[in-house]
Symmetry: none
Subunit: 230 residues, 2 copies
DNA sequence: GACAGGCATAAAGATTTCGTAAAGACGGTC
DNA sequence: GACCGTCTTTACGAAATCTTTATGCCTGTC
């Protein structure tokens, strides 16, 4: 009655449950879309992107888990799955595949509504900011471990990324060869400065416009390297 | 009730514990963010960088240790991990991976609060500890090994910097040739006073407005040099 | 005013460090 | 077992730094 009119997609094959949810959610002020099968759910989600999905894992056509995976390929809205009480393993797999929360059938409508509110609130928060660090024309998404240059994704090997992350975490400071080697390669190889030289070279090849005249990965001759502060 | 309103992130899958922590911490005046899974924790941490993280190592989705590692790739705030009593090895691994402290479940809230206070106090201490020294229009950032003149970065070679740092550490005092040579070049070359002349010249060229009429690096004829006190 | 000693500065070797490409070794995958 | 991506190792030209040498300046003394 008071709600913001968020669009909820219900993917549920049992008609009684759908009817029950329809009554409860519309009276809370949500807008609704309903799908009676996984296939239909995917189509509807694509046509009318929902703010939240309620997905029953026990669907007749394709596996509920499969629907979940296919949704998560592009949908960032929260997904709450409904599971039968005796399907413990299912909900773990579902959370793994990107579900945000679960409710066990039979459920109290109050609990479901509460979880919906939390999920939507969270989604809005998380969506409001892309948690990224920007330096020049570079953008770092720390949680996803992605690096963009002029909004184009740049690929790094594990060690390259570790070195870059270490420099970024201490950006602005001069970092000695010894420190970087110890952080990235471990205490054993802290003398092998030639490792650094070849990896710094690859970082530059990928990050800099002119690797010979670096803007980000700067060398401090005789001491180490420094990542440009901003 | 008295607190500074530090933002705490709780990553904990068990709802009862979350509820318990929520009650205790908000009544202490902390602000809270909660995440019920590691994945969510990482997202929330990135969106709302916390002042402290409480991380349960026994999470359902990704391994708690993995969450810890991924957080530490970029987050500098203190992390306190919660471990089960019989998981001795876990907490050692966690501390190794960058956790700041641990609390064993079941825990007394008083102990947790005390450890939180310590961790936050320590973190602030370290953060505020940017030991920059200002002398005239110069600024020395010792941890970053950077020197600025009128907020413009000035580059020094290893020996130049070592000499400058030695003079700065003893600024105001008259330092003999012998002393400076021994500190910078070692006991072997403590007679080679011409080294000093050459390097003092480069320091002046980089630091002084008029190298012929130095303001910072002063000559004490027949004795040595002195770095201006302030 | 000539001279000596200490100092400042520039510039030419000598030495070390750095950047880069490319080859070899390694590990996982199909 | 061949392939791919990654890491390690090697080699060499380029760059930066350190050492050495040379020259000139300033000050004070005789």
């Amino acid at each position: 009655m008071q709600q913001s009119g968020h669009l909820i997609l219900i993917i549920e094959d049992e008609q009684p449950i759908r009817r029950f949810l329809r009554a409860s959610l519309t009276s809370e002020g949500y807008r609704l879309n309903e799908a009676a099968s996984g296939d239909e759910g995917l189509r509807v989600a694509a046509s009318y992107p929902p703010d939240l999905v309620i997905l029953d894992l026990g669907l007749p056509d394709i596996d509920g888990q499969e629907v979940l995976r296919r949704l998560r390929e592009w949908l960032t809205a929260p997904i709450i799955v409904l599971t039968a009480r005796d399907q413990e393993q299912q909900k773990i797999t579902a959370l793994d595949a990107g579900a945000d929360d679960y409710v066990t059938k039979p459920f109290a409508i109050g609990e479901l509504l509460a979880r919906m509110r939390t999920a939507i609130r969270h989604a809005q928060h998380v969506a409001s900011e892309t948690p990224t660090v920007r330096i020049g024309d570079l953008r770092f998404d720390l949680t996803a471990r992605l690096v963009f240059k002029r909004e184009e994704i740049v690929h790094f090997t594990p060690l390259e990324y570790k070195l870059l992350a270490t420099m970024l975490k201490n950006s602005g400071k001069v970092l000695t060869h010894h420190f970087l080697l110890r952080e990235v390669w471990g205490p054993e190889d802290s003398q092998e400065t030639h490792y650094l030289r070849v990896f710094v070279a690859s970082l530059r090849r990928k990050l800099e416009d002119d690797p010979a005249r670096p803007r980000y990965v700067l060398t401090e001759p005789g001491v180490g390297y420094r990542f440009a502060a901003e």
